[in-house]
């Protein structure tokens, strides 16, 4: 066997009573892409943090090109040739692309007193040119799209001449087209001899990209497998430790409209959109990131002010840009960025569930604590909150359980229309299936549901009908029997149906 580029040897890490990593050993060769799989809490992040020098393992060691990594913090890991691309991109938003690229390792002049901005921007431009020539090194990071920010991270790995590049769910906010670009980039990185560690929940990507994978469960290594000799189901089973039922789509759609969106627009991001969602129907909205899907949901929920159009629920029009009025009309928004727009982190599950319904749960301005907890317990028990403790702060729960609490929030508020924006983002495989069956159950109870998703399998699983958005407009409406990846991609990507031979 050839020498390994990166090797984990008996790595263990314990946090108080929790054994986060238990004697994990595997290795990967230069130029290979190695997947790291496991449910949330399986130990993937801890392992990556050991690799990047954030945590020091209690036991075991990590070797790069045969020499043990000195574990003196993130900078020494960087010096050893390890580059991390985080799931939540870590930049200083108000600094320029070039400044961010050289953060912590600046090019200096005058004996290290000043940073040499010009040299930095030149070096940045050289690297960025091969990735995305539209990124200007002098531009503020905050002005870039998420996919572009990711490229900046990759540029950093290139600049630092990394031997190992670890990517933690790099695609969680990318569109299929952007993913394709990333695939090319990763292949290019690997061709230069870099070892890539790739963490993702998306099985498609793992099979597409990885040569081999290591599967973790509860901090222990379950198996290291070659991707060409294993099936998807086997992997899921190894991850979860049980067989997951592959559920079929079920439809509960009626022809009784509950919500009508009439010419709703917020120029220039959302151009006039009209459609209706019926009782028991799950309407999917597909489209590229930036096509206006999230913005459309925010308009429907009254969070932002529309420039034109209106929303009607059960025939009554809802005052625009008034969240309270939208909630009273029965609309509830489950935001994409749960941490930013969804949860009140330090408050309990019960408080988070009750928040929009407080007037209902109070008398004379004083909250009826028992009723708040009672209602939270009822809804959260139905949804199988784990662990079942509605008094715990919501930050202490996993992404899937937080999402359940936000669903519970709108059920408690009596919502009839639920707007899900990327409902399973940051949620692990097991909990995903749960969220899907929850959406189905809500539909069966007669709710009207909109699901915005960048994951096509997700839409195929839950949606009765799909709208495709492109540049702020609805470019196609596809009933279930016409929902194909190709049809959606054609409607989603600008210029494909007008240009005679578009590049998909």
């Amino acid at each position: 066997m050839e020498t390994s580029r990166l090797e984990f040897r008996g790595v263990s890490k314990r946090f108080g009573p929790v054994q986060a990593l238990n004697n994990v050993s595997f290795s990967t060769a230069p130029g290979k892409v190695h997947g790291l799989l496991g449910e949330n809490g399986a130990g993937k992040s801890t392992l990556l943090k050991c690799l990047s020098g954030v945590y020091v393992p209690d036991d075991g060691a990590i070797f790069v090109d045969g020499s043990a990594l000195s574990l003196a913090g993130p900078l020494s890991a960087r010096n050893a040739g390890i580059a991390m691309i985080h799931q939540e991109l870590q930049h200083v938003p108000d600094m320029s692309v070039a400044q961010n690229l050289f953060l912590g390792r600046p090019i200096t002049k005058f004996g290290g007193i000043f940073t040499d901005r010009k040299a930095q921007e030149q070096a940045a431009a050289d690297v960025l040119h091969g990735l995305d020539p539209t990124i200007d090194p002098g531009q503020r990071i905050a002005d870039l799209r998420v996919a572009q920010r990711q490229l900046v991270e990759i540029a950093r790995a290139l600049i630092e001449d990394a031997k190992v590049v670890a990517m933690d769910e790099p695609t969680s906010s990318l569109t299929p087209a952007e993913f394709e670009k990333l695939v090319l980039l990763i292949e290019r990185l690997a061709a230069t001899g870099v070892s890539v560690i790739y963490v993702s929940h998306r099985m498609d990507e793992i099979f597409r990209l990885c040569d081999s994978s290591t599967i973790l469960r509860d901090g222990s290594l379950v198996d290291t497998v070659e991707m060409n000799s294993i099936t998807r189901d086997d992997i899921v089973q190894k991850m979860v430790g049980r067989t997951l039922m592959q559920a079929e789509h079920q439809s509960f759609a009626t022809d009784e409209p509950i919500i009508r969106v009439e010419g709703l627009a917020r120029q220039p991001v959302v151009r006039p959109c009209s459609f209706a969602v019926h009782k028991g129907e799950v309407l999917g909205i597909a489209g590229l990131v930036g096509s206006g899907r999230t913005e459309l949901l925010r308009l429907i929920a009254g969070v932002d002010a529309p420039t034109a159009g209106q929303v009607k629920v059960n025939g009554r029009s809802v005052p625009p840009h008034d969240v309270g009025a939208s909630i009273r009309s029965g609309i509830g928004l489950l935001p994409e960025e749960r941490k930013r727009d969804g949860i009140i982190p330090m408050r309990s599950i019960a408080s988070n569930v009750a928040l929009p319904s407080l007037p209902k749960f109070s008398r004379g301005g004083i909250v009826h604590d028992r009723r708040v907890r009672g209602s939270a317990e009822t809804y959260m028990r139905e949804m199988d909150l784990r662990p079942f403790d509605v008094n715990r702060p919501i930050v202490a729960f996993s992404g899937g359980n937080q999402q359940k609490a936000i669903i519970g929030r709108w059920l408690a508020a009596g919502a009839e229309v639920l707007l899900f924006d990327e409902p399973t983002r940051g949620v692990d495989v097991g909990a995903k299936a749960e969220i899907y069956s929850l959406i189905e159950r809500l539909a069966s109870e007669g709710k009207a549901i909109i699901v915005v998703s960048s994951e096509l399998p997700e839409l195929f699983r839950v949606a009765d009908r799909v709208l495709v958005m492109r540049e702020g407009e609805i470019s196609a409406e596809l009933p279930r029997n016409e929902m194909t990846e190709e049809a959606i991609a054609r409607a989603a990507i600008p210029g494909t149906d007008t240009a005679a031979r578009g590049v998909a």
Binding site: I327, I344, V367, N391
Partner: protein, 314 residues
């Protein structure tokens, strides 16, 4: 209910209580008069003004804001109500005028912060100069004397041997506790301070909540002004210098996070008592005022360090 209490505020409050006991225990050993009934009442009375301001400040801080204008707001309330009293206006009306000025100043701050979207620190820093200037201009820089003794009796009297200011602030503390921990408005303050965007999406009236918090803070400043005016029998336009910093210190020692979303009324009251007790004890021991300032600074920093360490291990 009990488990929720313990989780949300309990451990932190217990920590402040231990700090309070240690400091009071030390003084009890060093000074025989410290731990006597009259002196304890004295400490409570001396702490009452800071505690009053700090109650409002806690709500502001929990909402992820700050109110630097409380001292000058108090001064303006004091001089206006004092001049009304001297001119023979009935006492209840003068009190209402004082409270009205506090609420008005809070409204002004709150509108700029909630509706114009300015940063609380800057708005209330502006208010700090503005309200002080108004108080100085209004009085020409001179104190106002000769307040009716009935007025003084209200705020400087006693009820069953307890100074009326202690009774008043104690009552306000109970109300503030109910407001923050049991009322819809309190839940909104915690939500807005914890995650403003999420609160907005969940239908919380974010702007009205912020407005309300600053109005309460202004009213608390006016109340503190009435207490001090009653005690001194005079109103000075320079009243309340550095009150905002004492109030922030009490709230922070008590566990309020300047990032918002977290704070405890019980903790704040204990924080004010710690600061008051410290000054009282050091005075009893004839320690120079300079060292009292030093001790205050050390206590604040130690409290924050303990907080930090507790969180890292927790």
């Amino acid at each position: 209910m009990k488990s929720k209490l313990v989780f949300v505020a309990g451990f932190r409050d217990a920590g402040v209580l231990i700090g309070l006991i240690i400091i009071f225990g030390t003084f009890a050993i060093l000074s025989p008069t410290f731990l006597t009934g009259p002196n304890l009442l004295n400490i409570l009375q001396q702490s009452s003004i800071n505690a009053c301001i700090a109650l409002g400040m806690t709500l502001v801080i929990v909402s992820a804001g700050i109110d630097l204008s409380v001292g000058p707001t108090a001064a303006l309330s004091a001089v206006v109500s004092a001049s009304l009293l001297v001119a023979g206006v009935p006492i209840p009306l003068a009190i209402l005028a004082a409270l009205g000025i506090g609420v008005g100043a809070g409204l002004f701050n709150g509108v700029l912060i909630a509706y114009a979207g300015l940063q609380p620190f800057i708005v209330t820093l502006g208010g700090l100069s503005l309200y002080r200037a108004l108080a100085l201009i209004y009085t020409g820089g001179n104190p106002i004397f000769g307040l009716p003794s009935e007025f003084r009796a209200i705020f400087n009297g006693s009820l069953l041997g307890v100074p009326s200011s202690v009774v008043l602030v104690g009552t306000l503390a109970v109300l503030a506790w109910i407001l923050l921990n049991r009322s819809v408005f309190g839940e909104y303050i915690l939500a807005v301070g914890g995650n403003r965007e999420a609160a907005h999406v969940a239908g919380v009236p974010v702007k009205r909540t912020i407005l309300g918090v600053y109005m309460i803070s202004g009213a608390m400043a006016s109340t503190a002004a009435l207490i001090l005016t009653g005690r001194l029998g005079a109103a000075e336009p320079t009243m309340g210098t550095l009150w905002e910093l004492d109030a922030i210190a009490a709230a922070a020692i008590g566990g309020a996070s300047l990032m918002g979303g977290r704070g405890s009324i019980v903790g704040t009251i204990m924080g004010a008592i710690i600061l008051g007790g410290l000054r009282n004890g050091l005075t009893l021991m004839n320690v120079q005022a300079f060292y009292q300032l030093l001790a205050t600074g050390i206590i604040i920093i130690i409290a924050m360090l303990i907080d930090r360490l507790a969180k890292r291990n927790g």
